[in-house]
Assembly symmetry: C2
Homo-oligomer: 367 residues x 2
């Protein structure tokens, strides 16, 4: 079965083999002083986003990380250190490293703790944008653990009752292993949509299809230009309390309490961008939970399969073609793209050519 | 300052001193075979909901618990046992006890583990409806810990793309201590509203003010009669993916994975009611996190105060009178009601009289 969560029309996208794409991205980071192993981690996180259909967090963001390394905001060779550590918890200082490198190190530590002592909780400060939150939850899932991955982000959203960009899109990812793939994976911004949606609509010259943001005076706007220039994303639930907007706001703040306040990282409007004038000081929060602390793993895996069947086989709403379980669409997209190649947008291809010439890195085959 | 989150007009409500209300509710439970200490726990959870302005989860629900005890669905003298336990985790079997009794026992265990080993994670099966999720998060907050409280619920909501009541309202509560009261407390159903809102609108003979539910054919309806009879609540984000409905759906399922699947409790449509024909087998999930695993407590408390000031002092949206931080309104309401008394609806007063006569329990003074 051919399936892609988001269509990639051939007049706009070039298909590139995922291994070639990984090699190219890793080469770019290595040329900028990142050790080969770390460069491959970043490449894997970015290409996995594209494989899973989350283009907004994939190789299209390469420029941002390259600029961050060039500007010195991001440290290519961080000394990631445990500032505090107990049997089941740790706080890591990411030393301004790439968020993907710091994030993987932190989740690996949480996984080790969960494997030896049933639960691992690891907070992180002094990091950078770490890509898709779901990647780290899936690291735990691959070890048959339940994984939680949270991060704060630069302020792009507005809290209920306020104006301007005051809080982050602060995503929540939770993954659980299943007996039969795909695993359950919730990976969501706590805003209605992430900012990348507006970048996509701007590129296509279209208005947004729903009320996702407000302008600087607080009026709802669907114009990508306005939103990207001076607007603020609305929390999940929307502008008003009557539609539950205060719940999305509360989830965003809860994520910031764990990622920003508790770790000593920046929070709220202090969180910086990857290539900004000062360290972004992004904070993350990871947890891994050993199923065996609660029931035999085989029984749990069977129960997750039952849950998936239960949700899929419900009576269908007449306006919907399909009922989806979280993680299913992105997994199907990945199966397709592993075979057919990863669609890379022509604007990203242009940037690839630019950076390839500048750094002397061989372009991926097919470009 | 006099403040109440939800107004309680004197023609509809009688004010009762919170101590008298607690005494009365505890007497009722004791008369039904619940040990005095446990009866006082249930009374405290219910009256706290009313004090905080969450009438839908307060003493208005007394009948449900009384019926559950009378029907034998709820066990008045449960033997709550640890089925599995490790240093930082445990799984408790609630032996069909009152959810408040089981929930408090579980959160106390999570707190002890967080105090001695930085983190405590406790799952629960074979429990019942436990009242407001926030109560248990606040137990941790009182000990200066971060508290997480989740529960599944009987199916009242519909997942994205489906019809009928397929998933629970599965709430999420997260609390964090502050230097200056009130603490941060997010306490939210993963649906736009809990079912109790429709009970309130029906009582008032009003339509709901927004699209919170669908009827049995999947059409959006604001009619409380239809919703309470055969409708389904919409997940936070609403009916469609374009407004983020799949995110509320995903949060609800994530809560059920932790509370229902992982603990061996019922999940999805299997979760029963408090006074149903079979044990409800509700599942809960609690976590307590020691701030000192990450930073000095005093520094964290100061940071939470800063966060509250930051959110409160943002530029105000022209359509809003006030910017609120989570936990603030319910705390202010509690201050008012501790002084002025708890408003008890006249319909609830009628039930009080009925149960008072039946069980020979003295009514609260003022009724």
């Amino acid at each position: 079965m051919e399936y892609e969560k988001v269509p990639a029309p051939p007049e706009e996208y070039v298909r590139v083999d995922h291994r070639e794409l990984r090699r190219f991205v890793a080469d770019v980071f290595e040329r900028l002083g990142v050790p080969r192993g770390d460069a491959e981690i970043v490449a894997d996180v970015l290409v996995t986003a594209d494989l899973r259909g989350i283009e907004s967090h994939g190789v299209a963001r390469l420029r941002r990380y390259v600029d961050g390394l060039k500007a010195g905001t991001v440290n290519p060779r961080p000394e990631i250190k445990a500032v505090r550590e107990s049997r089941c918890t740790a706080l890591l200082d990411g030393d301004r490293g790439l968020g993907q490198v710091v994030g993987c190190r932190a989740m690996e530590l949480a996984i080790r703790k969960a494997e030896s002592d049933m639960v691992g909780v690891v907070g992180v400060r002094n990091s950078n944008h770490y890509g898709i939150a779901g990647y780290y939850a899936l690291m735990a899932v691959e070890r048959k653990l339940i994984g939680l991955s949270l991060t704060n982000s630069r302020p792009l959203a507005c809290h209920t009752g306020a104006l301007g960009r005051t809080i982050g899109t602060n995503p929540i990812a939770l993954g659980a292993p299943a007996k039969t793939p795909p695993p359950f994976l919730l990976d969501m911004a706590t805003t209605i949509v992430p900012i990348g949606k507006f970048e996509t609509y701007r590129r296509k010259g279209l208005e947004a299809p729903a009320d996702w943001a407000i302008d600087s005076r607080g009026e709802v706007t669907r114009d990508p230009e306005v939103v990207l220039k001076e607007g603020a994303l609305l929390p999940l639930g929307g502008l008003l309390e009557v539609t539950g907007g205060h719940k999305g706001y509360g989830l965003s703040v809860a994520v910031d309490i764990l990622c920003g306040l508790l770790t000593g990282a920046a929070w709220g409007s202090q969180v910086g961008g990857t290539a900004g004038p000062k360290p972004s000081n992004v904070g993350h929060f990871f947890a891994a939970l050993n199923v065996e602390a609660f029931m035999p793993l085989s029984e749990f895996l069977e129960r997750v399969d039952e849950l998936k069947r239960y949700l899929k086989s419900a009576r269908k709403h007449p306006n919907f073609k399909e009922i989806w379980v979280h993680g299913e669409r992105s997994w199907l997209t990945m199966q397709t793209r592993l075979r057919k190649g990863v669609p890379v947008h022509k604007k990203t291809v242009e940037y690839f050519k630019e950076v390839s010439g500048e750094l002397g890195v061989k372009l991926p085959r097919g470009i």
